[in-house]
Symmetry: C2
Subunit: 462 residues, 2 copies
């Protein structure tokens, strides 16, 4: 009898889970994952360091370099089987010291604007530029106004982000074209610069930056984003004085491309070491905040997945890999290098991604997973819903994954994005407001635990 | 043909919904509710006023009186059919001017403590009191230590709130006994005062107050709560100097009971005006914060339910009533008066509650509803799940409702609590940290819209 108890105890408490392990034990493992994450919030302390000791870390910057070194050090301290850097050539743009926007008007008064250069913007002339303003809502308006009304002026894109979508990424998606391609389109009509309403449904005083695209065929003109509150004010001032002038100055500098790195760590699979389940976020961030929600959170959460497995002595069958991607914000070259290299290894049969999870939607409460998968795979993943219900994880829907992992689809990998509560995300996104204090320790750790739970189930099932 | 289009248009856009109205039109109405709430965040602006212009409003205080007047004015401005005050006699306790806690120790050093009196505490002697400290984890520890070790000392209850429950109210519930009954139990062993670790899983510098109960049979001793960070420090200091002294001072005053009010407003039912669907939160709050999440949010959200119906010209069959309850925090006498009065009306057949929804779990993202109902009723309410899915409302479970409405069960009313994301709630709860800036406009309005949607479905179905 005693040996039977021993065997039962062994089954209940063993940490290397064999195939066909029961739902009850999945449930037990997931509970242990959550208990560890909520009791020892290591991800949160890591985020504190990344945000408060390193700060904003645009690719190519010295902070990005520090973040690479720090991430490697953290992974080295975790007792992983492999930790390495994957070199990536990245762009290196800096906004420089001067960044000014000022309305000058006898009728409407003089006002400083909360603006900042959009990522990759060319500088203004060193002494700044002064011009009139033409307000538009979209690219169609440019066509209607024509070169006659636009040439020599600053185009002010002021279409509001629609507040009514429930998932705020849809609100963002419906307004971000102004930031991403506004300068390019306005330049075709002879605009000297653009000011773009920040792509957020929030009403605040922060300019929210981001990337943009110039076209080779048109002149690159300086591009600024302005806070939504100041966009509203500017529109009012323009009504009282349509001929008001704006002074703009930005001393952006584009340096030569430079070397940076994706940072990678692994727990080697006990049965299929050549089969990879990757989890990752992006290590770079915009320069004007601390990159706490975007995407320090995703980086520390995906590192936490591996920490939780080590802490619980969970030995996966497949290799579990964390990737801290470089350069998601500026050029997405880290994702490209990672995809190209893993495609090469897949073609030679050496390695293959069976799944990848991206965490890049902020560190708020996790809701579930957006899953890029076949109907058959969806059926399997959806069958795990009940296991996650006690953890307030309810969203299991087909959908996109993320820009850092989507190219892995060619290997047949199951691709997943961690979906989090989006309501506050664009209060922070790409602004000076994206700081550590906006992240809640429990919400952050719950996201890490949800991913760890999911990875454990994929590992057992695939 | 044209008249047919007209009829179809009439069916699609009419706002007074008849019985048997289709799921498609429920869906349309709910979409309109959400669009209105997210486009015109009136609840949020109301909360701004309540928090920033009136502030903390403990029952019996002049601020509570101001809040009553303001709420009545807001309701009067909404074009409701009825607005009135329901008198409630309430207790009137104030913490007074002096509130000090200081550790005095040669070995451990002198340290000020972040403390505040627990609601209803008796004062210390005017000149304060000094005593040694005995640390315990629970009431059982008191028994073990006995009068010999406790008499003449301050008892320090320092059991941590368990961080591992996912729903933080369970964490709170497991630790709040120390605050609610600590002074009563410690006094039985001759303690001169108690210091209680704040009932929150958060690690912060805020003392989180709340109510407590003295027993007639034992001496009422002064009771303080201390921030969780200082509780950790105090425990450390006690280890280095078990004989350290603490100086405590509180000048709490218990005034005579005074008159206050529940504030009530109604849209009269077009078919069954005598049948009430009530929605409500509590207008009073603790004094040391602004009562933003607890429960300014619930008050402005439930007012918003009626505003949304008016804005959309939705004419309910049943009377929709908002109740801003007085005195939830201190003595729950507003709930008692409301329940007694409505029971009396129900017994005379004049009025009957068919449903009541309480919003008192903070203004964070709504997740769904905790429902105190029969199996048959649960089946009906659960059948609405799909309608709420696009709005990230997924939780429909049997459970408790809330202290302000639970007595309405005797009328056979369907009782419901709005369930919100609980992760941050106890960062704010009953502390100086419960301020307007901690509430997100979208999260708040989504909660109001979720309740309005639910009320519209109950109104159509019941």
């Amino acid at each position: 009898m005693r040996s039977m108890y021993f065997i039962i105890a062994l089954i209940l408490f063993q940490t290397h889970l064999p195939d066909g392990f029961s739902q009850a034990n999945d449930s037990l493992l997931i509970r242990r994952i959550y208990t560890e994450a909520l009791s020892k919030p290591v991800a949160y302390h890591n985020l504190d360091y990344l945000c408060n000791k390193i700060g904003g870390r645009l690719c190519g910057s010295s902070q990005a370099e520090k973040a690479v070194q720090w991430t490697q050090k953290v992974l080295n301290g975790m007792g992983l089987d492999t930790v390495y850097l994957q070199p990536v050539m990245v762009g290196h743009w800096e906004r420089g010291e001067k960044e000014t926007g000022r309305v000058v008007s006898v009728k409407a008064g003089n006002h400083n604007l909360n603006i900042c250069a959009i990522g990759g913007s060319v500088p203004t002339p060193a002494q700044g530029l002064s011009a009139g303003i033409v307000e538009v809502k979209n690219f169609e308006d440019l066509k209607i106004l024509g070169r006659e009304k636009i040439e020599g002026n600053v185009v002010f894109f002021n279409r509001e982000a629609d507040p009514t979508p429930i998932y705020t990424f849809n609100s963002y998606g419906g307004s971000v074209d102004q930031r991403a391609r506004g300068a390019m389109h306005a330049a075709r009509y002879g605009a000297v610069a653009v000011i773009v309403r920040s792509a957020t449904p929030a009403h605040d005083n922060y300019p929210h930056t981001g990337n943009q695209h110039y076209a080779d065929s048109v002149k690159a003109i300086p591009a600024f984003c302005v806070s939504t509150n100041d966009a509203d004010s500017l529109s009012e001032w323009l009504k009282s004085d349509p001929k008001l002038n704006v002074f703009l100055q930005a001393s952006c500098i584009l340096y030569p491309d430079t070397i940076s790195y994706n940072v990678i760590g692994e727990i080697r699979g006990s049965v299929h070491p050549e089969e990879i389940i990757a989890v990752g976020g992006h290590l770079d961030s915009w320069d004007i905040g601390q990159g706490a929600h975007d995407d320090g959170a995703g980086v520390v959460q995906t590192i936490e997945v591996l920490r939780l497995f080590k802490a619980l002595n969970f030995r996966p069958k497949h290799t579990i890999r964390v990737v801290a991607f470089m350069d998601e914000e500026y050029g997405q070259r880290g994702a490209k290098v990672y995809a190209d290299e893993s495609k090469r290894l897949a073609e030679t049969g050496k390695q293959k991604h069976i799944a990848a999870i991206e965490a890049d939607r902020g560190g708020s409460s996790p809701q579930g997973f957006s899953i890029d998968a076949s109907d058959e795979e969806m059926k399997i993943v959806s069958s795990w819903k009940e296991l996650f219900k006690p953890y307030e994880i309810w969203f299991f829907e087909k959908g996109g994954s993320g820009v850092d992992i989507r190219e892995l689809k060619s290997q047949g990998a199951l691709l997943i994005a961690l979906v989090t509560d989006s309501q506050r995300y664009f209060d922070y996104h790409h602004s000076a407001n994206d700081t550590f204090d906006k992240v809640n320790v429990r919400e952050l750790e719950l996201g890490a635990a949800a991913m760890a739970g999911l990875v454990s189930l994929i590992d057992r099932t695939w």
